[in-house]
Symmetry: C2
Subunit: 719 residues, 2 copies
Amino acid sequence: MLDKVLNARSVAIIGASKNRTKRGFQAIKTLLDEKYEGEIYPVNPREETILGLPCYKSVRDIDDDVDLALITTPARTIPALLEDCGQKQVAGAVIIAGGFRELGEKGSALEQEVVETAQRVGVRLIGPNTSGMINLKSNMNLVGIKDAPKGAIALLCQSGNMALTLITEATIRKHEGFTYYIGVGNESDIKFHEYLEFFRNDPETRAILMYVEGMSEGRKFLQEAYKTSIEKPIILLKSGRSATGKKSAGSHTGSLAGINEVARPAFERAGIVVIENSDELFPVAETLSSQPPIKNQSVAILADGGGHATIGADLLSDYGISLPELTEKTKQRLREILPEAASVVNPVDVAGGTDSDPGVFADCAKIILKDPNVGGLLIVGLFGGYGIRFDKSLAFGEEEAAHRIGKMVKYRNKPIVVHSLYSSYDSHALKLLRHYDIPVHDSLDISCKCIASLCQYGEYLNAYHAKTNFIFNWRYKAKRRGEKIIQTALNEGRHVLLEHEAKQLIKLHGAPTSVGHVAETEDQAVEIANEINAPVVMKIVSPDILHKSDACGVRLNLKSEDEIRLSFQEIIKNAHNYKPGADIRGVLVAPMAAKGLEVIIGTKIDEQFGPVIMYGLGGIMVEIMKDVTFWVLPISHISAKKMIEDTRSSIILDGVRGQSGYDKRSLQRLLLMCSELIESYPEIEEMDLNPVILYDNGLDVVDARIILKKNPVCLIADE
Amino acid sequence: MLDKVLNARSVAIIGASKNRTKRGFQAIKTLLDEKYEGEIYPVNPREETILGLPCYKSVRDIDDDVDLALITTPARTIPALLEDCGQKQVAGAVIIAGGFRELGEKGSALEQEVVETAQRVGVRLIGPNTSGMINLKSNMNLVGIKDAPKGAIALLCQSGNMALTLITEATIRKHEGFTYYIGVGNESDIKFHEYLEFFRNDPETRAILMYVEGMSEGRKFLQEAYKTSIEKPIILLKSGRSATGKKSAGSHTGSLAGINEVARPAFERAGIVVIENSDELFPVAETLSSQPPIKNQSVAILADGGGHATIGADLLSDYGISLPELTEKTKQRLREILPEAASVVNPVDVAGGTDSDPGVFADCAKIILKDPNVGGLLIVGLFGGYGIRFDKSLAFGEEEAAHRIGKMVKYRNKPIVVHSLYSSYDSHALKLLRHYDIPVHDSLDISCKCIASLCQYGEYLNAYHAKTNFIFNWRYKAKRRGEKIIQTALNEGRHVLLEHEAKQLIKLHGAPTSVGHVAETEDQAVEIANEINAPVVMKIVSPDILHKSDACGVRLNLKSEDEIRLSFQEIIKNAHNYKPGADIRGVLVAPMAAKGLEVIIGTKIDEQFGPVIMYGLGGIMVEIMKDVTFWVLPISHISAKKMIEDTRSSIILDGVRGQSGYDKRSLQRLLLMCSELIESYPEIEEMDLNPVILYDNGLDVVDARIILKKNPVCLIADE
């Protein structure tokens, strides 16, 4: 659908100019210089020709089809120009101007007007507040960055300077380049996920590189990413994670940066390779666009010196990658060609074995890659520089080795990444490696990150079948009685379910919880307690009292009739004192839960991603250690398991200090039930199960709170 | 003392050769090529001249003084050659050969022979297993890396390839260089701390850059580092932190890599800037060697685009650096020279304000540096590339700005670090910045790390007075009674103090603990309990039973005489069953401690650093969350406070969930007491105070275990 916009065969430059310093001049100049394959139509009511091209008074006057308009005029002129574009049936417009929501209220109003106009007249918008876009396949360069290298990476970027950074880096590295660059700007019409879908369907794009400050439709993005990452890798850096960073991102594109705790695991679940270090962004994209992913998380290191091998092993182990033991056969074959001092365990250190013949590198690489334990190879040290550092004649041997190493990757379908001190020198052997698409870096850190990212992506592809696709089947598992509980509350004008209502709702979906009964009188309380026939808890029931403890409205572990009568009276009295005139429905009498391990489960609606779920151990683990995990809903059975394992304290569930473990399966089922509940009742804004008490067999949801949305429910438009 | 070795005015090349591929040829060639200022004496019994220099049969035959010998012959030849050197009164020898302890037992024996010979004949050794050394001041290049750049950084490196990496990087950057490079190798004679002392006293060295895999005398190193870092910065990367990394480091230099948990905080307490990312190593050294440290931990960012500003703010906030609010005056002055769309909060975004005049960068920098809240400035974006990216004519404006920015640093004594996309391009403005010693990088991550390191070093210098110098005053505070307790145990052939002995010892030094009394009979037990007149605990007393609970030798909370008598019988019986024939001294009867917060304190002797102390909260915090801190002893009052604060759970001590806090001062005093105790009694190998129960007022050491050294006490030779 974006095809006509991003692959436009004709472009109108609205705001074309003869003034060399103006964007409206530079844009035309660049299109001509770069030999854009389509038609160029300058639009300016006051000029006859610009750079030899006839100039039109309005886009409406152009007598041919116009696919795309580049609008370089100021913000306030945009709505009227979009009307023209609409009449001309222009498919899309790139709006360079800033001065919209990033400038506050007034700008926001103008931005809304622009978007509404565009939607009404059927013109899709890139931007506003963007540096522009480049289609490198047709040389449609609407940015003005010259000589951007062509290649297989699509670049989706929310900062013009970061785009310039990445394109400059690609230019210097002279290996991989781009299919498209799109400056997303304020993302007010075309969203990240739409671009993603377009790139997924573009056969020449082999990887998608993204710099994001904030996105407006996170959930749809996750859904598209999920579909895309199985076909081609997505590499993403999300900035604005710090409070200060957020301030700056806010003033830049006017979009709110998301919470890192939610965003990062969500992105990773959708198969995205998330990068935190901007130096790694392009190298990782380059690697993933050209090298096969590693399936078994296992990498071997081949070094010509101890230092690099040691640092490399440190870094890979930080990334959680195993350096597997080599088979006895591999070691034997390495021993045959290496000197005695060489180390043939992983990392392999040739210990001078390549000094007089760098071809030994290729021999070693061949032996190591053949090892079934090894999924990929990292070569570190001086390869490519033997001719520079030691003796010129060694360069030819390096070149021969480079050819062999290059072919190996395709033959074995296992990747090789090369760290070479001489990466920025003029080394023909290294040029050859790049010719075979092998990434070469002079940074050891970046080389390690590159091979690690191949493991990460490989692991994702392996586990793809167990992933959720981030799509809700709204109301799919809703129950009539559940809907009635919610409707009753809404009919009474309440947005909070009473405790027993919330418990009834979750019990309906299979959660183990003791609901109890509401007593309106002392006698009823005693009667309910007698039926329970065990110690009870009593809690105030009032839609006006959210925090029952604050109102002294909770009594625990009550046994005798006297205790129960006295508690009833006190709870009611305290409630009246706490909030005179409160609507008091009675006192909930429920069985006292046995002691066990307290955990907390909560759900909320995240601004960017919609419904999310939180899980953690209760008490200081959540309050002090912040040892919780957030996942975007819905979750699968396996996700529920992984959520639990993702907390550092999860080993407590397995039993420590000689205690027996806790019932993780029941906990897993409860997490799944929460996911199902949120899916079933879109009216729910927040849910808190706190505490849930876990036993060695089973669990008990001791308190439940469910808050409904204040606005009439509008579903996240998924399907 | 190392002066004659490292500043040698004459070098003998033992193993000199006419064969171009031999090290003994290359070494002479390099010295001649690089124009070494001293005398060169080739030694080879079978040659007359080499490269035009007369050749000697033995170093003894040289008729002039010889300061240093470079020995290039194999391992087994070294002892005899050192004898010759000794007779000739050669001050030092560089031993290139490998084949020592890194090859196992046999190599270790040879290494020991080499070291003993050297010490006997009075020759200091660099290496063995080293790539060599370079004195760039006198062009004494004993490595063969050509054209290493001269400068103010001393390089101390335990891997030849890492040295080559760093020297290559310096060569490419063309700004800062080196005074010395020393390949430390196996560090068998001259130790890291001796080199450090030498560099501290070398007036031309302004910073010390270290790559370490393992060091043999960590404590002495800390002591020297403490003295050095107040004068000049030390920048260090310690590799081999991962299990796999350790394996590789072990096979490389044969030295065991230290525990990161101990090493890193110890290094930082000694003022060392610890680096984890090898890409940052040289840039940080370059920055610290030339820029003034930042005193107030506060940095401003000046950007010409949002993306870089946002990422920069993210990174600085990750490093714990504050981006302070600018004063109203600063903001006003910035507003006067910047366009309306500019952001004048920190980060400052010029929003096109420099497009037509890059000189505005210098104006902004001047205004920002004048702000009293700002300690240093990070400029990010395109500066230096306006002439390349936009219009050639802008280059001159950039150059003028570069001059002004360069002078500003000296005038204000506040540092500036510049990130520029065009760092690797031929930009005269950037050359000028480097001329003024301003670091320029194309990596945003590295630029941020550089300015962060100036904050870290500045913070250290500010707090220097509160640091400990890592020196023990052995036995300084020992008490006669304490020595007697230890002597009694040793006389009995015991290496474990009995619980009541350990408690007596710590009580002697002021630790609050209820020692109780040892009952040999039931009647005595009852008598002691009566005197205590409160619930008691009873524990088996036997030098043969270390883990009392395992032997069912502990009874808690005993009140009645019957309970006490029965417990006594059972404890004794269980002990006999647990270990028939055990030496049973009786049963310790002590008051039962009240409930409170459990913490754990322990000390041990670390292989690299000697005595260290550990502190953490008891229970799952230490067992599951590993929330503990390790510090090298001795500690100061302020260190004790900081140790407590360094655990994530320390806020629990301040009181959470409405509970009152705990007595942190008493805990601090107890930590100090532990430090004093270890200092007083060098016989102690390990001490465990577990648990210590903390109250809102005071504390109680409930159990104490002290293990004595098995070997006769040899003090760490500090003084």
